[in-house]
Structure formats: structure tokens, C-alpha cells
Point group: C2
Chain length 400, copies 2
């Protein structure tokens, strides 16, 4: 009997560990693998043979894992390059040594590219005893084909909550107030758009719409003149027509050649103050917390992420199943319930799913009903969680 | 039968409305007032006779009010000056017109000064039919005499949660990371200190300790050298030995002559990067959300705030009870349970309660056991809340 390996890559979400928990749970129900190994720090740790044995994680451990944010196994931004044969050879040798039949890899775009690259390498070299399965996760919700990505909904639920509560806060005084909430999301506006679920957003600036400063400021003026307040949400990836980010001054680069964004909120604040359409403006940048607030998980999201891990484990019984990602779709009618299907990882890798243009209202006025219909079912429910002296309990990271 | 008036002032908290709910509930149980009026936007709205009738708020409304953040009645930063006789005369005339026996005023330092000033004016002018009672609230927890202030514990619970979860996030990569969380708190370090309840804080910078840059950077270096990570929390009010704020560059002024703080986190980040003790540092400024995150209320806090409102109502049956604030103490032994007592509002107004120096560890290394014993009982429990389509429900603000 062989073993399996599960590892995590890319940026944290609130429910990424639930997928790992699902793999472990599925193997406890149907032990097709002798050991479920966790690989630490993704490909980076796998190359160093940094493994932990998760096979017999207790029920309590599984529940803790489901409510633990970020990557309990550690993450990496190590890019497996197709021309780096040495890395591929080394990984295959390590998988041989540990008798690993299946490697489950949770992550976003780059991780699906890793899954595709490893399975292509195996196919080209006639390696049939190692299979590679991707499990999507990203708060950005920017993977194609899958209806949405585990992790998005909890971040969306939190951001809608933030918008609702900070709107309550910003309204208490009679004075003029402009409040600007900045969200993550890279070049896709899903996270920023989710704040409209609060019902409180006046203006929404998404990367999908070329930013027209004059048009935007005219909207701010109209709203401030009408009610002396304006609640604005801006995505970190918002861009001018020429493709430069609003946050351009502060843009840097991460290891993958992605721009590290931040500062769109301040850019908008400065525009507003300089133009004189309002006299006061305050920025809240949700920064890191929005992708790791396990204290605001969507129950739909965490259960879906868990089931996706179980589904991946079940699919892996098929000895020809490799280079695939488990994806989510929704029932064509009736109440929301996640349905799982599979897709070639290479069809997902390196594409970006944007918010559909036809769901975005003109003049930064928010989203159409289609978006509400899409997003609302995903943010429902709050899981019962284990607390630790007044603060949500988290599993001790396996990499420490 | 006369009426009573309840109004709110100062900055929002997550549980300030629970005190209002307590006054309403107490009057439903024992209707000593014909009407419970809500005054909108504190003294500012009272001067304009902006009242709503809260007497018969439904059970559902009371529950919603308990879970609604910020000030459902609106707030103000209007400073009632003792030499502005016109304001005092106007207020007394309005209280006459509405037959208001008792005015309950929730707020911090300045609000207690308002309570003291109004009761002193009444005494000096032999006005016996209007009484003034203060109900403390402030996330800053800086009121003297009372053991703590309603609102602090929920903000503390949220900040401890933020520290725990962002610590999980910042650790996932193998690379060096310095994370800096900035909290509110003005010149008192209570909120920043509360993050140690997460068990994850390496270094804590409080306003109570003169900031020594070299000493601090030496600590950062020691920690980064040892584990390649450092989790730092800094209070917005942290100061150098000469009294200037770390955030000095960005300091402005609010209507009360208080400095508007912000930027201590960035100041620390810049120091660290410039000194070279670490190569990367990231700041999370919790900003507005920390004082209004009703989705992370402490059950102890919200119930205490509610009971404090009930207690204030009960005390007001005494026709000589005026110029007082209802304060909280804890049992001398046994499990935590709030006990209420009263104190002259003038003894609270315009003083600041700092974190005791003997509770603060040297070299920014956190807090002694005394602080944990003080704070932990306050952040316990999570109330059952009414949800609205995936997001915590909030009552429609009365001032809209």
C-alpha cells in the first residue's frame, strides 16, 4: 500500500486547512493510503524531505485544522520552473523514497501550474506511480472554470461585515465623512465587490473597469453633496486606463513577478482631498487580516473546502487520475449545494477569472443582482468553533 | 410621571448600544419613566431637540441594539463649555419642555465631564427636577476608578484574535518576516497590551514606557536572529522620552484638542528597515474596525454593558442621584462577575488611567501575569447574534 502527500502553496486563506482535513478524514474513512504525509512549506519543503505524518490526526485535531487559518503546513512561493530538470528529478526520487502514490497540492494559479508541470513531467518520463492533484484555494477567487475558490467566501463574508460595521462607525457624527476601504484581490475585483453584500457601499472601484478620475470624483461629489457621507471600496488592483495601478507609487514585485499591491485607498483619498470634493477622508486597509480571519469563516466555505479535500482523495482512487484539479459548480436550480467535478490543472494555471463586466454597474455604483445571486449563498452560516480562553483556537503549525 | 433621556457621545465601541438597551429594558420591567427618549448625536442633537421614542422597543429591537456597534443614536464631539451659559440654559429648558427627570449619558472622559458640568449647573441653580447620570464606555479603557470600561473587552478580544490569526499568516513562509500591528488606545496602552492574550506577541510598545529606539532595535535584532520572525504590537500613543509621538509626523488635532494619532506602526517599520536589523516588515493598522467589530463581541462585555444600563436606570429612582457615573468592580475572589457601584462623574472626568508600570515587562517583552488575570475574564464568551443574510444584523441607526 502506498502513501499520499498533501502540501500547501501560495497566500493564506481562512479555510485552506479544511481541504487538508478533508484528505485526512477521507483516508480515515477509506484508508487507501497507509500514510497521509503533510509536506511542509509546499514544494520548498518537499525538496528538503520535510514531512509530518497526519494519518491518525484525532477528531479534535481535524476540527482544529478546519478552523485554523493560513497554512498549517506552511507555504511557499517557490516557482517550479519547467526547465529546471534537477528539481523534477529530485521530487520524483523523494516520492519514490516515501512510496507516495498521490500528491495533493492546494493553491492558486501558480500551484495549479505546479500540478500541471509535475504531471506532464511524469507522463513524458513514463512515470505512472506518482499522481498530482490540485485543490483550489485563493481569497482572490480568480481561478477559471471552477465556480469559485474555497477561501473566497470567508474573506468575502468578513469584508462585507467590515463594510457594514465601519459604515455604522463612520456615520455616527454629523460632520462630513468619506470612508475608503481597500481590499485585496490582485487583478480581479471579487473581494472588493463582495463588500456590496453589506448593503452600505456607495462607490466601488474594481480592477475590471478602467479608472476615470474625473468621472469618479463627480460621483463622490454627488454623493457627498446629497448626504454628507460617502462610503467607498477600492480594490488594490484598480488601474487607470493606461494600465498603471492607482497604487503605482508603492508597487513592488514578489518572487513570481506579480506586483505587490497596496495603497489604492490612499491614492483615492489624496485625489478626493486635492480635488476638494470632500474635506475629510479616512482609509481602512484590511491588509493581511482579510485573508486569515478564521473568526469570520463562512460555514458554507469551510464545509466546501473540507468536502473538496475528501472529493480529491476519492478521485485519487482512479490510478489514471493525475494533472487534475477538483473544481466546484453549483446546482442549476434549487438551494445552493456545492457539486464537485474535475478539470485539467493546465486549463486553470496562469489564467485569471475577472468579475464579468455585465455584473458591474456604471459609474462605480456597485453590482447587479447577478453578483448578489452568485455571492450570497457562499457567505452563509457560521461554524461552531473551539475557543481557547476567549480567542478562537488554532492548531499549532506543523512546521514549527 | 416624568420621562428619561439617553444619549451617546464620543467614539464608537462594539457594545455601547447595549447600555442603551439596558436602560430601555429596565424601564419596561419597572416603568418609572413614561417615555424613554433617545437623544440623537449626543448634546449636539439634544440642543436641537432631536429625540426618538425608545420606550416600547421590541424584544427583537433590544437584541439587535445589543449587537449593534458604534452609536445607534449617533454621537458627537461637541464640548459643553462651563462658561457657555446659553447652552446650559437651553438644555435645561428643553429638559423642562420634555419633562425629562433623568438624562443618561454614555461616553468617556469628556462625556463624564459633561455629566459633571450639567449636574453642577443644576445644583448651582437649584434645579432639582433634572438629574444627570454617566455610563462609561470607551475602547481605550482609560477611565479611572472603574475597574474597566464597557467596550474595552470586545476590542481587546478582537485585537487578541487579530494577533493570533495574523501571526499564523506571517509565519507560513520560510523567509524573514517582521509584522507590526498598530492599535488604538490614545495615551493608554490597554488595547495594545490586550494583544498579548493571543500568546503570539514578541515585542509590545506601550505609551506608558518611554520609547528607546536603540534598546528596542536591539530586541528586534535578537528575536529576528533567533527565529527569523518578529511579531510586534505598537500603540498609536507610543512616545519617545521627550514626549513626541512615534507617529509625530502625522499627528493632527480633533475638536477636543486631542492629538489624532496614527502612524506609529509605519514609524517602527521605517526604523527597523533603516537600521538594517531586518530586511522586510509589514504593518497592519487595525484603524476603525477595532472599535466597531460587533462580529467579535465579548459576551462578558456586552452583558456587562447591558446590565450597567439597567443599573443606571435603577439607581435613578433615587431623586438625589445626580452627577454620578455607574462604575464596575470585580469580586474580590471567585469567578468573574461584574459588580456595579457609583462614583462622582467629576472624579472620572479628565483623568487618564494608564496601564500600571509594574504590569509591564522590561525590554518590550510584554505583560506580567497580573495583566492576564485582569484581562482574560473580560474577553470570555461569544453572544448568539441575529444574522442578516450571512452578515451580522445591525439595527437601523435612529439618526437616519
Amino acid at each position: 500500500m502506498g502513501n499520499c502527500l498533501v502540501a500547501q502553496s501560495g497566500g493564506p486563506t481562512s479555510v485552506i486547512n479544511a481541504t487538508v482535513a478533508g484528505v485526512i478524514q477521507a483516508n480515515q474513512l477509506n484508508p487507501i493510503y497507509e500514510h497521509v504525509y503533510g509536506g511542509l512549506h509546499g514544494i520548498e519543503g518537499i525538496l528538503n524531505e520535510e514531512f509530518v505524518d497526519l494519518t491518525n490526526l484525532s477528531d479534535n485535531g481535524i476540527q482544529l485544522l478546519k478552523q485554523t487559518c493560513a497554512s498549517a503546513l506552511g507555504s511557499c512561493r517557490y516557482k517550479l520552473k519547467r526547465d529546471n530538470v534537477e528539481d523534477f528529478e529530485k521530487i520524483m526520487a523523494i516520492l519514490d523514497a516515501y512510496n507516495i502514490d498521490t500528491m495533493f497540492y492546494t493553491g492558486g494559479n501558480d500551484s495549479m501550474d505546479t500540478v500541471a508541470a509535475l504531471s506532464e513531467y511524469a507522463a513524458e518520463h513514463n512515470i505512472r506511480n506518482h499522481r498530482f492533484i490540485g485543490c483550489p484555494k485563493t481569497v482572490d477567487n480568480d481561478l477559471v472554470i471552477t465556480d469559485h475558490c474555497p477561501g473566497f467566501a470567508s474573506a468575502a463574508k468578513f469584508l462585507a461585515t467590515v463594510a457594514k460595521l465601519t459604515w455604522m462607525d463612520v456615520n455616527v457624527y454629523t460632520r462630513q465623512e468619506v470612508f475608503i476601504l481597500e481590499t485585496m484581490g490582485r487583478d480581479a475585483g471579487w473581494l472588493a465587490a463582495s463588500t456590496v453584500l453589506s448593503g452600505k457601499v456607495d462607490l466601488l472601484v474594481l480592477p475590471e473597469v478602467e479608472f476615470d478620475k474625473d468621472r469618479f470624483l463627480a460621483q463622490v461629489k454627488e454623493i457627498v453633496d446629497a448626504k454628507n457621507k460617502c462610503y467607498i471600496v477600492v480594490s488594490e488592483g484598480a488601474k487607470f486606463a493606461d494600465g498603471t495601478y492607482l497604487a503605482a507609487g508603492e508597487a513592488k514585485n514578489d518572487g513570481f513577478g506579480h506586483a505587490v499591491l497596496g495603497g489604492a485607498g490612499n491614492a483615492i483619498k489624496n485625489m478626493i482631498l486635492e480635488s476638494g470634493v470632500a474635506k475629510r477622508a479616512k482609509v481602512q486597509d484590511m491588509s493581511t487580516l482579510q485573508r486569515c480571519n478564521a473568526a469570520c469563516q463562512s460555514k458554507v466555505d469551510v464545509e466546501e473546502s473540507f468536502r473538496l479535500g475528501m472529493s480529491a482523495h476519492m478521485h485519487s482512487q482512479d490510478p489514471t487520475f493525475t494533472g487534475k484539479m477538483v473544481a466546484v459548480k453549483r446546482p442549476e436550480e434549487g438551494a445552493y449545494n456545492p457539486l464537485f467535478f474535475t478539470v485539467d490543472a493546465k486549463e486553470v494555471a496562469n489564467f485569471v477569472k475577472h468579475v464579468p463586466a455585465e455584473w458591474i454597474l456604471d459609474d462605480y455604483r456597485g453590482m447587479t443582482q447577478e453578483f448578489y445571486d452568485y455571492a450570497l449563498p457562499l457567505i452563509q452560516g457560521e461554524p461552531d468553533v473551539i475557543m481557547d480562553n476567549g480567542v478562537i483556537a488554532q492548531i499549532e503549525p506543523f512546521y514549527l
